[in-house]
Symmetry: C2
Subunit: 125 residues, 2 copies
DNA sequence: CGGTATCCACCATGATACTG
DNA sequence: CAGTATCATGGTGGATACCG
C-alpha cells in the first residue's frame, strides 16, 4: 500500500470485504485496536509480555493474552519461551506480521495527518 | 513525542500509538471492523443506507447507524439527505475518508496475500 | 514473570416497534 | 426508506487469585 497511487485502480482487494467467509473472518479478527497496537509495538522491536503491556498502556492482562493468542493462532506473531526462572517470553512479528505492520503504520500516519481535520469536524458537529 | 525511532526509517507515526490521548482515542475508534468495512464500501462509490447495509452484510441496523454517526462525527464521511418521499440519504467519504481508504485497501490486500499463510498457521497451531 | 481460571458487572449488540 | 427508542441478554472484558 504505502506508496501505491491514490485511488486510481483499486480492484480485486476491494471485494475481499464481501468475499469468502474465511477472509472476512480474518479481517474482522485483526481489524481491532488491540491487535493493531500490538503489531505496531512489536514492529519496533521484539518484546516480552510485560514490556508490551507497559508500552501499550491501558490494556488488561487478560486482553493482552487473548489478543496475543489470536495473533499467534493466525501466524502474525511468534512466541518464544526461554525456560529460565523467572520465565522469559518473547514475542516477535512473523513475515505476515511485518507486512501488516506497514498497514498499521499507514493508519498511524493517517491519524497524525488528519488529527486537525478531525478535531475541526468534531467542533462543528 | 520522540521523533527518533530505533528501527530503520519508520518515523514518528510509530509513537502515535502511545502519543497524546486524543490521537489514541481516534485510533481506537476507527480501528474496528465495521468502520473499516464502511470506509471500504463507500470508497467504491457513494451509497445509501440500505445499500451499504446490504453490501456489508451481517451488520445490524443499529450498528450501522452507530458507526455512520461516529464516522460522520470524526469527519470521515458526509451525509446528504434528499428531502424526498421516501427519504433518500447518501453517504460519501470526505477527503480524510478517502485517505483512510488507502489504509483499509492495504489491509484488504494484506488479507488476500496472507490468506494461505494464515490457514497454514491455523492448521499447525 | 507469565499464564490460566473464575467470577461478575456492565455494556455493546441484536431484535423489535414506532415515527416522519 | 431511514432514523430513533426501548428492552433483554449474552458476551466482553476487568479484577482477583493461584499456578508453574
Amino acid at each position: 500500500m504505502g506508496t501505491r497511487n491514490e485511488i486510481a485502480a483499486l480492484p480485486p482487494e476491494a471485494d475481499l470485504a464481501r468475499a469468502d467467509s474465511l477472509a472476512r473472518e480474518i479481517f474482522s479478527d485483526i481489524a481491532n485496536k488491540w491487535a493493531f497496537l500490538i503489531v505496531e509495538f512489536l514492529g519496533q522491536r521484539t518484546m516480552r509480555f510485560g514490556e508490551l503491556r507497559d508500552h501499550i498502556g491501558g490494556i488488561s492482562h487478560k486482553m493482552l493474552t487473548q489478543n496475543l493468542r489470536m495473533l499467534e493462532h493466525n501466524g502474525l506473531i511468534e512466541r518464544t519461551v526461554h525456560p529460565t526462572i523467572p520465565p522469559r517470553v518473547e514475542y516477535a512479528l512473523t513475515e505476515a506480521g511485518v507486512a501488516l505492520r506497514a498497514v498499521v503504520d499507514g493508519m498511524c500516519g493517517w491519524t497524525q495527518k488528519y488529527l486537525g481535520h478531525i478535531e475541526a469536524a468534531r467542533r462543528r458537529g
